[in-house]
């Protein structure tokens, strides 16, 4: 089971990992990834907008894909929304498995798909008061391919 959560509040990495591992003695590896608001020159804050009716379900669909692909992995994925200042944590992925390779792989898979498959949009707020929506990093070809394949939903896009 990999559980997805969506929240405005900060998360507690140690508490999340402890909760995930509680009562388990069969796990040999735990991987934690935290995404942070990077203080690019002059950045005052990031605001994460999302699609409330879709976001959590899409995050859980991504988590379920990871769980199906790495059946021995357990995990927690938390994404924040709202206004976040430089240095603030945005996203947490904790995975654990009997051996490290699966925990590492599942964590990377979760992050790659949370970035490209969950409906969040970052708006940058600069020290001079201007704002700018962050552009997706995928190239035009990638974007076109995704558009073409998007009708298959997450399951179609993950394989």
């Amino acid at each position: 089971m990999i559980a997805a959560r969506l929240q405005a509040e900060p998360f507690d990495l140690a508490a999340e990992q402890a909760a995930l591992l509680a009562g388990r003695t069969d796990l040999g590896a735990a991987v934690c990834f935290t995404g942070l608001v990077r203080a690019d020159e002059g950045l005052a804050a990031l605001t994460l907008e999302h699609y409330p009716a879709m976001t959590l379900a899409q995050m859980q669909a991504i988590a379920d894909q990871a769980a199906a692909r790495w059946p021995g992995v357990v995990g927690t994925a938390i994404h924040r929304h709202g206004r976040l200042e430089p240095g603030a944590p945005i996203v947490l992925v904790v995975t654990a498995s009997p051996h490290r390779a699966d925990a590492f792989a599942a964590a990377q898979f979760l992050m790659d798909w949370l970035k490209t498959g969950a409906p969040f949009w970052k708006r940058e707020e600069w020290a001079d008061g201007s704002t700018r929506w962050v552009d997706a990093k995928a190239g035009d070809d990638d974007a076109a391919e995704r558009w073409a394949k998007a009708s298959a939903g997450v399951s179609g896009r993950l394989e």
Partner: protein, 83 residues
């Protein structure tokens, strides 16, 4: 049907949601975008570059050929930038 907009699409269209009844010949996502683009200058500007537009039909990612039959909520937004 309910249309919902996010990020710069919302800002350019000028509203976060609207309830519309497209004509009967608007049966796919691509046709809906074409029809919507004719509604106002804001809609037209937001939808001019379809490579920068993504759509979800009833909270599922959709493609240009996705049918609209029975759909209740269509979301239109830029490529996602979370994580």
């Amino acid at each position: 049907m309910q249309l919902v907009y996010f990020a710069w699409v919302r800002e350019m269209v000028g509203t976060d949601a609207e309830t519309l009844a497209p004509p009967a010949d608007v049966t796919t996502v691509a046709a809906l975008l074409d029809w919507l683009a004719g509604r106002s200058d804001g809609h037209a500007a937001a939808l001019v570059d379809r490579s920068r537009i993504r759509v979800a039909v009833d909270q599922q990612f959709a493609g240009p050929d996705t049918p609209l039959a029975g759909a209740t909520e269509i979301a239109i937004f830029p490529p996602v930038t979370g994580g």
